[in-house]
Amino acid sequence: MIGTILRRLGSAVMVLFLSTMVIFIIVGVSGDPLAELRDRQPPVSESVIAAEEQRLGLDLPITQRYVDWLGGLFRGDFGPSVQPARDIGVELGSRIGVTLQLVSTAVIIAIVLAALAGTISALRQRRWPDVFLTPTAFVLLALPSFWLAVLLKQWGIGINEATGYQVFATVGATSIPAPTEPLAAFLDTAAHMVLPTIVLILVHYAVWSRYQRTAVVESLGSDHVRFAVLRGLPRRTVVWSYVVRPSLVPIVTIVALDLPALFSGAVITETVFQWRGMGVFLLESITLRDTNAVMAWLLVAATAVVLFNLIADLLYLVLDPRVRNVSH
């Protein structure tokens, strides 16, 4: 089994490598990072532009640039930014921290809620509370996250105005300057996190709870549940060990495949709430035509995909003996 995981990991790294190549070429051939510099009025001198081109390696052929970029990666260097003062690696580090703070809380809450609601919904199909949970999930699925984010943000502002207190902070991850005393710092972070976290929770809760419901419904109809009931096992044992346990196997993959998308999902949430996280980093880099910064972002996002696939494989090992004992 370890062998299978290693093989999977190997193929994932291969895919990762190919995907950087594809992205590098797409990004490299589309758009000129110096367009803004060239268009500047009064015109910037040719020599300055040539110097910039050389600094960014634009004078080299694209294959050479890719090889250089890849070599730089191994030294922990993400390549030069369009803005000379910007160190992509350092900035990315802090951005990842901000995004993780937002995403991890939301993901954990969303998974727990989705697992609970999906299971309950399936156990009580077409009865209360399923008759409420299922349409709710459908509406949430249709809800564009940007609209929800803007709505919550503006309502937050409205509530702040109505109460006269700063209940919700709607801009950024912390106040500037952030309070230093631990309790105040915690409350400050919480006030900033509530609304964007709710957005992410709702969006992902909707998808995952539907999957969980389907999995449990399928599990409920299976023969082994029927046989467990026929053996007279207590209801609780049947529900936990025979209905829910087997249904966790499919949901794990789905969540693991969805998680990397949270990074791009977070693009919208971060933009609306002006968190300086990964999402906003990407948009800024795109606007600046900062090729290397975009590449760095994509590298992180793609690595996340590979990483979460690996985690899914490992969780499979724990949850599904059929995978664990494949060597027998």
Binding site: S11, V15, L16, S19, I23, S30, G31, L123, Q125, F138, L141, A142, P144, F146, Q154, I157, V207, R210, Y211, A215, V217, E218, L220, G221, S222, D223, H224, V225, F227, A228, V229, L230, R231, G232, L233, P234, T237, V238, S241, R245, P246, V249, I254, L257, A261, S264, G265, V267, V272, L282, L283, T287, R289, V294, A301, A302, D320, P321, R322, N325
Partner: protein, 614 residues
């Protein structure tokens, strides 16, 4: 941006039913869809929205982007959705946005469906290396964050804006993966079917086989998936436009309208709510259509829930909404006492009188009466659909939810019709055990055999080592030679015959008075069938339980049963002791069954119960 539910498909059974007649199948699907109420309502909403998007702009007095002297007016007759700060009529803007969203989502769906279908069919059809490389391509596409790439590509298009064609292409190219996976899965199931083989052997070229024979049979799945894709595409496009990377000004889209009105939520809410709610309505209706289509393509039977608390009587009688609220007739306490105190008549363990099971008024079991004596072995014989399985299921209280049962069912003096889940629990396993047909699905795949024994043995107060000892003894009782190895194994590590023995051991674990065996050997290899039958008969004999043995195979019955009951179309057509049935069958149906049975002598001699027929 993912599909709402895991696409479920059952390639084997379903494909066969479609294979012959594609057009007929679509008509059936259409008819089923039209019965799906939410789906039809959703379709009406979507059609209405499309018509509004196409027709209204032709006679609407304001053009999108046209500046009127009415600045920031709230909704009125003249401007049903108000106007923005520049005096643009929001309704005209929203209409334009709706057109854009529909057009782009439509093209995205077509592009993604085309790519996904072609690659999926090729991967599924050729398999091996071709499949592996296409699946790597899928992995590759999945590592690319759709929104990010689309945003990037959207941003590099020269000023003047992205045309909707370009945007659709980009999104379509990035969204084909789910479709490819789905189609591949179905095609892999279809590939092995005889008619595909036949087409191939007759010299049809791969291309022809794929697109003439395979694609039409995946079409229903494709339609469902592309509907969901359409919804996802709307969200993707509006999201991109919201970020400023999709549709560019002066043109507009629903996403852009939301973006433009961000700060107006509290002051000029109409600007914000109308486009947003329209997106929700659009996607919601598309998703409900998808749901309706999925149900039409893959009709779900009524939800199965063996944990359902209702008794068969109330499930039959009470079809109203008030169901489940109260069951005044049967309080669990009362039932418990009946179960324990029951004196019953010694000459009959099970009494079935004038018992019927109906589905939507149509009888599956039609007024049957039978009785089983303690320690007797009764074979219930009939072809599939004769009602024998329904009879068995009603004796354990697991009739399908849509079934309406009537008549009387008694087990050792207890009225089975009025039992609820907890009352049943006192009977199931302890007094009535059942062995199901397919041992490969009867055991929980994620728990070890030992754990599954433990769940049961704990109920009779065994702990720790006692459980192991008892379980091992039970396994030895069904002729398993290495009980310890089997106890530590998981179901998938055992052979079919082994699994069915384990199932029999579990059924026997609490010394039941009645064992119901529903075609316990049908799913097994012919070579193991006889052994498993022997094990079952031996285990039964040891415990002295009564057995109801259900089968379509009269040959199996000969060696085991005392009494034979023959069922056809829900009714009992003949009953008698085993010799009589075999030597002097009365009913033509019994004669037919007998003529179909293979050589009976070899089974007949193998057990002590009778010398076999003839």
């Amino acid at each position: 941006m993912s599909l709402t539910e895991k696409p479920h498909f059952r390639p084997r059974t379903e494909a066969i039913s479609i294979a012959g007649d594609g057009v007929g199948q679509f008509r059936i699907v259409l008819r089923r869809f039209l019965r799906h109420r939410t789906g039809v309502v959703a379709l009406a909403v979507l059609v209405a929205l499309i018509l509004v998007a196409i027709i209204t702009p032709n006679f609407w007095p304001y053009q999108p982007g046209e500046i009127t002297p009415d600045l920031s007016v709230s909704p009125s007759l003249q401007h049903p959705m108000g106007t923005d700060a520049l005096g643009r009529d929001q309704f005209a803007q929203v209409l334009r946005g709706l057109q854009q969203s529909l057009m782009i989502a439509f093209s995205v769906t077509i592009v993604a469906t085309l790519i996904g279908t072609v690659l999926g069919v090729i991967a599924g059809y050729f398999g091996a290396l071709v499949d592996a490389s296409i699946m790597r391509l899928v992995d590759l596409a999945l590592t690319l964050p759709t929104l990010a790439i689309a945003a990037f590509l959207g941003s590099v298009v020269p000023a003047g804006g992205v045309s909707w064609v370009a945007l659709s292409l980009v999104l379509g190219v990035l969204m084909w993966t789910s479709m490819a996976r789905l189609v591949r899965g179905v095609v892999m199931g279809l590939r092995k079917l005889p008619y595909v083989d036949a087409a191939r052997t007759m010299g049809a070229r791969s291309f022809r086989v794929m697109f003439r024979h395979l694609v039409p049979n995946v079409a229903d799945h494709i339609i469902v998936a592309s509907t969901l894709l359409f919804g996802a595409a709307i969200l993707a496009e509006t999201g991109l436009s919201f970020l400023g990377f999709g549709v560019q000004p002066p043109d507009t889209s629903l996403g852009r309208l939301v973006a433009d009105s961000q700060s107006a939520v509290l002051t000029r809410p109409w600007l914000f709510y109308f486009p947003g709610l329209l997106i929700i309505l659009l996607v919601l209706s598309v998703n409900y259509i998808g749901e309706g289509l999925r149900d039409a393509v893959n009709p779900k039977s009524a939800p199965v829930n063996p944990l359902d608390a209702r008794s068969m009587r109330s499930a039959r009688g009470v079809r109203s909404r008030a169901m489940g609220a109260s069951h005044p007739a049967t309080s669990p306490r009362n039932q418990e006492s009946t179960v324990e105190v029951s004196t019953g008549r010694p000459d009959s363990l099970v009494e079935v009188r004038d018992f019927s099971v109906k589905f939507a008024g149509r009888p599956a079991v039609d007024g049957i009466s039978l009785s089983l004596a303690p320690g007797s072995v009764t074979a219930l014989v009939g072809e599939s659909g004769s009602g024998k399985t329904m009879t068995a299921l009603s004796l354990v209280g697991l009739l399908p939810p849509k079934a309406e049962a009537s008549g009387s069912l008694e087990f050792d003096g207890t009225d089975l019709m009025s039992l609820e889940f907890e009352d049943w629990r006192k009977l199931r396993g302890r007094r009535i055990a059942m062995v199901l047909q397919d041992p490969s699905t009867s055991l929980n795949p994620v728990l070890s055999i030992k754990r599954q024994f433990a769940d049961q043995l704990k109920m009779i107060g065994l702990r720790g080592q006692e459980i192991r000892t008892r379980a091992a003894a039970l396994l030895e009782g069904v002729s398993i030679r290495e009980p310890d190895r089997v106890l530590n194994a998981y179901p998938h590590q055992l052979s079919g015959g082994m699994r069915q023995r384990v199932v029999i051991a579990m059924a026997m674990a609490m010394d039941p008075d009645l064992i119901i065996a529903d075609e316990p050997t049908t799913a097994l290899d012919v070579t193991v069938q006889a052994q498993v039958m022997k094990t079952l008969a031996a285990a039964r004999e040891r415990t002295g339980a009564a057995m109801l043995f259900i089968t379509h195979d009269l040959a199996l019955v000969a060696g085991v049963a005392d009494q034979v009951i023959v069922m056809q179309a829900g009714a009992i057509v003949e009953r008698g002791d085993v010799e009589t049935i075999f030597s002097r069958p009365d009913h033509p149906y019994t004669k037919k069954l007998l003529s179909l049975a293979p050589d009976l002598s070899q089974y007949g001699s193998s057990t002590s119960h009778s010398e076999g027929g003839k």
